[in-house]
Structures are given as structure tokens and as C-alpha cells.
């Protein structure tokens, strides 16, 4: 099979656009170049050259979906032949931006567990072909190899979740990145001095400009994140087709993809401060396919009622209702000390600036931080927890964004317990339950922070043992299934 013929002019257009900034530079930077007509000529010439190249690329790009592999032969100068085993495919994603939608073409991406980037990308095929590939790959993965489309029973599609406009609007509000806000508040004292010089009394200046700037920055952040949330998750729909989740989303750029349930590594339910107040949460399903910076694509439910999110999560992985066990109280003392030290350093720095530089301000205002330290410590401690269930370990961490990770023992890769010098003083340890999940770098939450050291080493062995038990059980099950199928055939 070939790509869609429309991909030739589109790809040529893309490379012309990539050249655009050079052209702009030429037009404005160099008058002798010939102005707009000269540039126009360059654009046309470049377009023709790339068009020719893309024509060859198109002719030399072939793919074929067989019963158990996707074969891709590509390359103009250096040829590359690939066979991707269908069984190893983790996700199949289709994305279409506005232009793609006008032309009726789509980009299809295949993810496998190996490697750090997308395994294969077809740029571009017709939308119908993309849909066909997606459903065919899904069908072949289920082990249904009958090529006769009519007799193969169509798998029933069950809708699990569709975003309402209320939820979408809320997402815009809740989706404010609180980390960005905290960054802004850190930045403010740096920006403020230049503003305060406009006023006679620096104290008045600070009092006026700081809240103003804060409000402005929060508003801008909210507007941007709201707009992003709405365009990204407009028309979000999640459905289940036999053993796969299908999602669709996007206003301008449409995405649709599959998440294979049998390859799910961890589930994470996250709720930030505002969402928690309003009783909302979001659900992310992590598979081993995506690269770490692809976090957006894995979001299974961007925002929904907390109860509903838990129901959905439990339909994907049948964990029990969670009852968290918190770390011992001495962990909280550790945070009091830690935050207290940070607060003291800030106060001392503010005092030093006030005393030894020309810039004077109400340095004692930073003393609020010293009072806030125990509160912050308590909040951090309160939101920690773990729950050991028969098939899952559930971990919870974070105040600003609280993340609950559900890790099946069966998916555990390594179990690590570590103790820093400070943790050893308080007989605490951190247990990390590592899986092949992809957002390990961003969430970092599959750990039980600061639990009792004896309990940590106990848990380490329990988790490792339960993995072995699960393996034995699954092996047994597979053997039984094999025997059954042999008997059925006989």
C-alpha cells in the first residue's frame, strides 16, 4: 500500500513552511536580495524541488499489514525495511490538524515498548485508511485473523465517558498549572523592585504592584491553560472495544488513539487543590509505549466526578476501595524541620538584603513563612499514604496535585527501598515500586515516601513475592487455556 497522494503536496508545503523563517530574515535583513519577487521565486523553486523529492518519497514508501506484522519499506536514498510484530504494538494513534482535516488525510503513529520515540509513523494516509489500520491492528491483536470482514463479528463499542461542556469549562479553570503559579510567586520579588521604583515609598509601591502583578499573571495563566484545555479536550470521548480503550479529542487538531488494557502498567488518578475541593479528578492510564514527554496522550479521562473516575479506574483494574495508611508521625517532624530551615534561610536572606544593600523593605514579612512551615509539613504528611491490596499496591502523594497510583504487582519491574542519612536518623525509608510505565520522569509518584524502615523492607519483600505469585498464577492460567484449546480442537 502507498500513502495518500495528497501527502505529496502537503509534505512539500510543510518543508516550505519550515523554510519560512529564513525567508522572512532575507526579506527584512537584505534589501539587495530583490524584495518580494525574489523571495517569491525562491519559494516557488523550493516548492518544486521538494515536490519532486516528495514524489520520489511517495513512490518509494510502501507498507503492508499482514496477519501478524506491519511491514514498512521506506527511504529515498538509504532504504529501510521494517517488520513490526502486531503483538508488540502498544498504541495506535491518529492525529489530524485543521489542514489534514480539510484534505481528508491523517497521521498515524504506532508505539511499541522498545525505544524512546515513536516506532513508526505514516505521514500521511487518508482518514478512512487510518481508521481501517487502527481497527485492523486492534482486531489482529485480539488474535482474530479471519480476513472475511462480514463473518468476523464486529466487536461491540461501549461508551465509557464523554466530556460535558460543564466539565470542559471546569477543566479550563482547574487545569491551571499550579506549579506555574508557585513559580510566578517566587519570581515576583525579583520583578517587583523594578516596579516599586516608580513610587515614592517602596513599601506602598510593593503593596500596590505585587498583588496587581499576581492577579495579572494568574489571569494570563488561567486564560492560556483554559484555552489549551478546551482546544485539547473538546469533544473528548472514551469508549471500550473488547480489550482496548479508544479515545477521541481535540477542537482544531483531532486526536484518536487506542490504549490496550492488557498492557496497562499503572493507573494514576490525580486531583489538584481546586479539583479536590470541587470533587473532581482525572485519570491517566500508563502503558509502556509512549516516551516520557508524551504525557498528554495517555490521559484517559481529563476531568470527571471523583466517584466516576474511581469507578472507571476500577473497571480497568479491579482494585478494591482504598484505605490509606499514612507514614508515621515522625515523618511529619522531618518536614517541619526541612521547611523550617528553608523558611529561616529565606528570612535571613531577606534580612541581609535589607541590611547590607541599599534596597530596604519589610523583610520581617517573610517571617510568615516560619509560621507556614509546620502547616505545609502537616499538609504534605496528610496527603501521603499507601495501601497494600491483594493484587495491587496503591500509593498516594502530593498536596498541590495529589496523585494516587495503582500499581498491579504483576507489572512491577524492580522494588527499591532507600534511606538517606536524614531518613536513617528517624528510622524512615522510601519504597519505590518501579514499572515500565512511561511517565516515570514526570509523575515520580510510584513510591511510598518516608514510611517506617522495618515496614519498608517488609513491603519490599511482599511486593516482590506477590509478583512471583501473580506470575505463577498467570502461567497456570495460560497453561489451562492452552489445554482447553487443544481439547476443543480434538
Amino acid at each position: 500500500m502507498n500513502l495518500d497522494p495528497l501527502s505529496i503536496p502537503y509534505r512539500a508545503g510543510e518543508s516550505v513552511l519550515r523554510l519560512a523563517w529564513v525567508l522572512i530574515f532575507l526579506v527584512f535583513g537584505n534589501q539587495t536580495f530583490g524584495g518580494f519577487t525574489g523571495v517569491g521565486l525562491v519559494v516557488v523553486a523550493w516548492f518544486l524541488v521538494t515536490l519532486a523529492y516528495q514524489l520520489v518519497y511517495y513512490q518509494r514508501f510502501e507498507y503492508e499489514l499482514t496477519d501478524d506484522t506491519l511491514d514498512i519499506a521506506s527511504g529515498v536514498v538509504s532504504r529501510r525495511n521494517r517488520e513490526i510484530p502486531i503483538r508488540r504494538v502498544q498504541n495506535v494513534d491518529i492525529s489530524r490538524n485543521v489542514v489534514h482535516r480539510l484534505l481528508g488525510i491523517a497521521q498515524i503513529d504506532l508505539e511499541t515498548a522498545g525505544g524512546s520515540s515513536t516506532e513508526a509513523s505514516l505521514k500521511y494516509v487518508s482518514f478512512e485508511e487510518a481508521k481501517r489500520l487502527q481497527s485492523e491492528i486492534g482486531r489482529l491483536k485480539r488474535g482474530d485473523t479471519s480476513t472475511d470482514e462480514t463473518t468476523a463479528e464486529a466487536p461491540t463499542e461501549r461508551e465509557l465517558f464523554a466530556i460535558t461542556s460543564k466539565e470542559l469549562a471546569l477543566l479550563g479553570v482547574i487545569g491551571i498549572d499550579l506549579r506555574l503559579l508557585s513559580f510566578v510567586t517566587v519570581l515576583l520579588p525579583v520583578v517587583a523592585p523594578s516596579l516599586t521604583e516608580q513610587f515614592g515609598d517602596p513599601l506602598v509601591g510593593l503593596a500596590v504592584t505585587a498583588p496587581l502583578a499576581a492577579v495579572a499573571i494568574v489571569a494570563v495563566t488561567a486564560a492560556i491553560s483554559g484555552a489549551l484545555a478546551v482546544t485539547n479536550y473538546y469533544g473528548f470521548r472514551l469508549s471500550r472495544v473488547s480489550e482496548e480503550l479508544h479515545y477521541e479529542r481535540g477542537l482544531l487538531q483531532r486526536f484518536s488513539g487506542t490504549i490496550p488494557l492488557e498492557k496497562v502498567q499503572t493507573l494514576s488518578i490525580s486531583e489538584n487543590v481546586i479539583a479536590r475541593r470541587l470533587g473532581y479528578a482525572s485519570l491517566a492510564v500508563e502503558t509502556a509505549g509512549y516516551s516520557p514527554n508524551d504525557a498528554g496522550s495517555q490521559s484517559a479521562v481529563p476531568l470527571a466526578d471523583r466517584r466516576r473516575v474511581f469507578d472507571l479506574a476500577q473497571s480497568v483494574e479491579s482494585f478494591e476501595d482504598v484505605a490509606f495508611e499514612r507514614p508515621p508521625k515522625r515523618a511529619r517532624q522531618r518536614y517541619v524541620v526541612r521547611y523550617g530551615i528553608v523558611a529561616a534561610v529565606v528570612v535571613a536572606a531577606a534580612f541581609a538584603v535589607d541590611r547590607f544593600t541599599g534596597f530596604t523593605f519589610a523583610w520581617y514579612a517573610t517571617a510568615v513563612l516560619v509560621v507556614a512551615a509546620p502547616v505545609a509539613a502537616h499538609l504534605k504528611w496528610r496527603n501521603l499514604g499507601y495501601d497494600l491490596q491483594s493484587e495491587y499496591i496503591v500509593l498516594r502523594e502530593g498536596f498541590w496535585t495529589r496523585t494516587i497510583s495503582v500499581v498491579p504487582y504483576y507489572r512491577v519491574q524492580t522494588v527499591v527501598d532507600s534511606q538517606t542519612v536524614f531518613q536513617r536518623r528517624r528510622r524512615l525509608a522510601t519504597l519505590v515500586v518501579d514499572t515500565a510505565g512511561s511517565s516515570g520522569l514526570t509523575s515520580g509518584a510510584t513510591r511510598a515516601l518516608d514510611i517506617d524502615e522495618a515496614r519498608a523492607s517488609e513491603l519490599r519483600e511482599i511486593v516482590a513475592d506477590r509478583l512471583q505469585q501473580e506470575l505463577v498464577e498467570r502461567r497456570e492460567q495460560r497453561r489451562r487455556e492452552r489445554l482447553d484449546s487443544i481439547e476443543a480442537a480434538a
Binding site: 515498548a113 498492557k263 502498567q265 509502556a288 516520557p292 504483576y410 512491577v412 519491574q413 524492580t414 522494588v415 527499591v416 527501598d417 532507600s418 534511606q419 538517606t420 542519612v421 536513617r424 519505590v432 518501579d434 514499572t435 515500565a436 510505565g437 512511561s438 511517565s439 516515570g440 520522569l441 515520580g444 523492607s457 519490599r460 519483600e461 511486593v463 516482590a464 509478583l467 512471583q468 506470575l471 505463577v472 498467570r474 502461567r475 497453561r479 492452552r482
Partner: protein
């Protein structure tokens, strides 16, 4: 655990037996008890807690020495530049860093143990942060042996174990003699095969 009875695993028993036998015959010296020549099993591959070769301390001290020397030179240049007449402070920096690194190397050596258990590799290490890691054999993707230039001059090698995990995806065991490293690599390979690594991800 089921792993001790691999023959009971249907068609897998056939390909498993010769693989284990080959290694077991070559590694009698390191195994505990008397390995049965006829029916080698997982038990002949596992061992008690092991420590590293003492020579690794020299490797680490030398590495520390190199970093200390680099820091010392930088400090000497910096001091000579900013307050002329005090480049000897570079020597002080070198001595302090070197002594710290040496002490850390010795402590690090003492903290390091590893154990080839029945269904997982267990490691314990760390001076400032003590880390205990369990790597189940099913999760092993591949095992490497590596020998850096300093390690080579001291006749040592490192075994590196890779998993598909996202954090601390690879675990390395330094300070082994080349024979021990080869032996460990072979054992882990056999144990990973025996653990039926079909579900690595």
C-alpha cells in the same frame, strides 16, 4: 515456588534443561553445597550474600584521586588568579577531597553486598543513601559485562543488569573478577530464561 520445578512446565521443560545444565557444570566452585551433576536446578545457581573484591576500593580511590586532582588544579588556578600568592590552597583542596573520596570508597566497599536469590537479584549498597534493590529475574532484559580502563588495570569487571523499568532501569555490580563477572552474567541469564521472561513488560 514453581520455578524450582521447571520440568513441570509443559513444553518449556524441554528447552530449559540443557540450558541450565551447561552453566551448572561450569560453576561448581561458587555454588553452595554439593551440586548434583545429573539434575541441575535453580538451587545450584543461587548463592549466599556476596561482597565485592577488595581491589575495587583501590579503583574507587584512584577515581576519587583523579577528581580530586582536577578540582585541586582548578582551585589552584582560581586562587592564583584572584588572590596571588595562594595557589598552595589548591593542594589543600586536593588533600581534603582525596581523603573524603578515599574514606567514602572504603565505606562504599563495606556497604556493598549482593545476593543471587531464588527468584530475584538482591543488592544492598550506599553510604550516604542506603539503597536496597530487588530485581526479579523475569524482568531482566539483558545482562552486560563492562570493564573500564582503571578496572582493567586492577583486573576487575562490572556486571550490568538491564530492566524495562523507568527509574533505575539498570543495576550494575562493580568490583568483580572477570571470572566472577562472567559467572554471574551466565547465572543471571539462565535464571532469567528459567523464569520465563515472556512478560518482560
Amino acid at each position: 515456588m514453581d520455578d524450582t520445578d521447571p520440568a513441570g512446565d509443559g513444553p518449556l521443560g524441554a528447552e530449559l534443561e540443557p540450558a541450565v545444565r551447561r552453566v551448572a557444570t561450569g560453576t561448581d566452585a561458587d555454588t553452595e553445597g554439593s551440586p548434583e551433576e545429573r539434575v541441575p536446578d535453580i538451587e545450584s545457581l543461587v548463592g549466599p550474600q556476596q561482597t565485592l573484591e577488595p581491589g575495587i576500593q583501590a579503583v574507587w580511590i584512584l577515581q576519587g584521586g583523579i577528581s580530586a586532582a582536577v578540582l585541586g588544579v582548578i582551585a589552584a588556578v582560581a586562587f592564583a588568579f584572584f588572590s596571588p600568592g595562594a595557589p598552595w590552597l589548591g593542594g589543600v583542596v586536593f588533600t581534603v577531597v582525596f581523603l573524603l573520596a578515599a574514606a567514602l570508597s572504603v565505606l562504599r566497599y563495606r556497604s556493598w553486598t549482593y545476593e543471587v536469590r531464588e527468584d530475584s537479584l538482591y543488592l544492598e549498597r550506599g553510604v550516604v543513601t542506603r539503597v536496597k534493590t530487588v530485581v526479579p529475574y523475569v524482568r531482566i532484559q539483558h545482562v552486560d559485562a563492562s570493564r573500564g580502563p582503571i578496572e582493567r588495570t586492577f583486573g576487575l569487571a562490572t556486571t550490568v543488569v538491564y530492566t524495562a523499568g523507568s527509574r533505575g532501569a539498570d543495576v550494575s555490580i562493580p568490583g568483580l573478577t572477570p571470572e566472577r563477572a562472567d559467572d554471574l552474567q551466565n547465572r543471571l541469564k539462565q535464571l532469567a530464561i528459567a523464569a520465563e521472561g515472556e512478560d518482560a513488560v
